[in-house]
């Protein structure tokens, strides 16, 4: 090993001895430098044309800006302020209408009508129809009253959330937003995406709305977002349900009282008839057991027996008629009571649905692809772009182009 190191040291010394300049080194160096100089001079003689570049850059900027800012917007209909295709976007008015339709479709009158029409029992529906109509009238009158009432200060705020996002990665962001919605315990109701546009309709718990909104805002620059949060007090709907419930409860109480009254009347009637029948029965029994030899008395007894038997059978028929009549009227009352209970149950469900509805937020997210020019335009207004472009090109020319020309001479 030491021998090899010694040899390496010898080679180092030897290597240094070999290092030498060639003969006529300066002449060769001058020749190489001459070539280097001539190469530079040749490149000066044929300088890269700069003015065409300057004009083409400026011209391209102006043409692109003109086309994107003036020509393309002019081609689109002036009334269509939204840049989304119709199938991906709803205007605010359309959203409000849609929500109202959905709420009214789930309203009390509609439910009762559906219950009465959908029921196979025609009898029940016939009985329910006038009640339904009366309830709708009452509801309508109360709605009108509630709309102007300021005494009730309760709030049942139903929140709607909407956000428009401009991004250059629509599909990736679309997937990420789905994950965020699910992460907040939300439910996705509608999805659509293509490379240019995306849309998500979802429902999330009201308690998560603030965090959800913050998380989305953290993902994007504020210039690329348009967020809207609207809330509507569902107090009128709540009042209608409450009043309808009161009305139904009162009706139920009345019907139950009516049924009790019917039972009591029936019982007293039956008792009276049975007492009368018993009297006649006793008289018949007494007459039949009476022994007499008088033909006059015997004919008298015979006539009385016929009279009492006739009375007895009349009372018996009356009792049967009373029982039948009672059964029918009691059944009718029972049916009405069942219908009332059913309506109260539905009202209770509606009340629960309304409270659940208040505790959720319905939201829509619209994604729109944005071009680089549009993105720049968000930061800098068009006139500034033009001015800055021109200044940039001139500064570029003065600092780089002119210096380059001088350096090359």
């Amino acid at each position: 090993m030491s021998r090899q190191k010694l040899l390496a040291d010898k080679f180092k010394t030897w290597g240094k001895q070999q290092v030498t300049l060639p003969p006529n080194s300066e002449a060769k160096k001058a020749a190489v430098l001459g070539v280097f100089r001539s190469r530079t001079v040749v490149s000066v003689k044929k300088p890269r044309p700069f003015w065409p570049l300057l004009f083409s850059i400026t011209g391209t900027f102006i043409v692109i800006l003109f086309v994107t800012q003036f020509v393309l917007p002019a081609i689109q209909p002036a009334t269509n302020t939204s840049s989304y295709p119709a199938e991906y976007d709803l205007s605010n008015e359309e959203r409000v209408d849609l929500n109202n339709q959905l709420r009214s479709a789930s309203g009390l009158g509609e439910n009762l009508r559906q219950a009465s029409l959908g029921d196979n029992n025609n009898k029940l529906s016939k009985i329910l129809q006038p009640i339904t109509n009366s309830i709708e009238e009452i509801s309508h009158s109360f709605k009108q009253q509630n709309n102007s009432s300021i005494e009730d200060t309760r709030e049942f705020l139903k929140t709607d959330y909407g956000i428009n996002i401009k991004t250059r990665q629509v599909e990736r962001i679309h997937t990420r937003l789905q994950t965020i919605i699910k992460g907040h315990g939300g439910r996705i109701d509608y999805l659509s995406v293509n490379p240019k546009y995306g849309s998500i309709s979802f429902v999330i718990p009201k308690s998560s709305l603030s965090q959800f909104s913050t998380e989305i805002q953290d993902l994007f620059h504020p210039k690329f977002l348009t967020e809207r949060i609207s809330a509507q007090n569902l107090l009128p709907e709540k009042r209608v349900i409450e009043i309808d419930t009161e009305v139904q409860k009162q009706s139920l109480t009345d019907l139950e009282a009516k049924r009790q009254n019917q039972i009591e009347q029936h019982n007293s009637q039956v008792e009276y008839i049975q007492n009368e029948m018993k009297k006649y029965s006793n008289s018949i029994y007494a007459l039949k057991n009476e022994t007499t030899t008088s033909t006059e008395r015997q004919s008298e007894i015979k006539a009385q027996l016929a009279y009492f038997n006739n009375k007895y059978y009349s009372l018996k028929q009356l009792l049967e008629k009373e029982n039948t009549s009672f059964d029918n009227s009691l059944q009718e009352t029972e049916t009405q009571i069942q219908a009332k209970k059913h309506q109260l149950s539905e009202l209770n469900e509606q009340d629960t649905e309304l409270l659940n509805n208040v505790e959720t937020v319905e939201g829509t997210i619209s994604l729109q692809w944005i071009s680089i020019l549009d993105a720049i335009n968000l930061y800098v207004p068009i006139y500034w772009i033009l001015i800055l472009s021109c200044v940039g090109v001139i500064v570029f020319y003065l600092l780089w182009g002119r210096r380059r020309m001088f350096d090359q001479i």
């Binding site: 080679f11 030897w14 001895q17 060639p22 430098l33 280097f36 190469r39």
Partner: protein, 174 residues
Amino acid sequence: MLLEEELGLVAQAKAGEQAAIGLLWDDITPKLYGYLVKTLKDRQLADDVLQDTWLKAINALESFRPKGVRFSAWLFVIARNECRQHWRKNGREVSIDEDNETQSAVHSPIELTNKITLDTVLAQLPIDDHEILCLRYISELSFNEIAHVLEISAISARVRTHRALKRANLILNK
């Protein structure tokens, strides 16, 4: 010359500084010429190849990208390619005029003896060993730079240098 200094000069040369080329010439040419003389064994031919190497380097200067390798290593790659090109055209003809000038540069008898001994040893070594020892001890290239010139890995360059020295040692001890 340090890597940074050398790269600074190259940057200046790219910007058109003639003086930078002059400084690079002064620093690299002695080693490059020594390497070419030892490789080609012909001073006249080494002169020509030296000039061709520099001219090609100047013409291709814009395409030079450092990537951790010195400009001198890049020049040695060009020089080696020039040598190979010459050998492809003319074959490996050995001239005997290589040492005339060098001997006059040697001062002491010990150095002269040492030189003659090592020249004799080098002449008996395989071409690859000869080349790697020239690159290592005349050109003073690092193993990374030798690897770059010979298009092998740095570890291979180290191992091959070690083996070349071992073989030289064996020849020396015969």
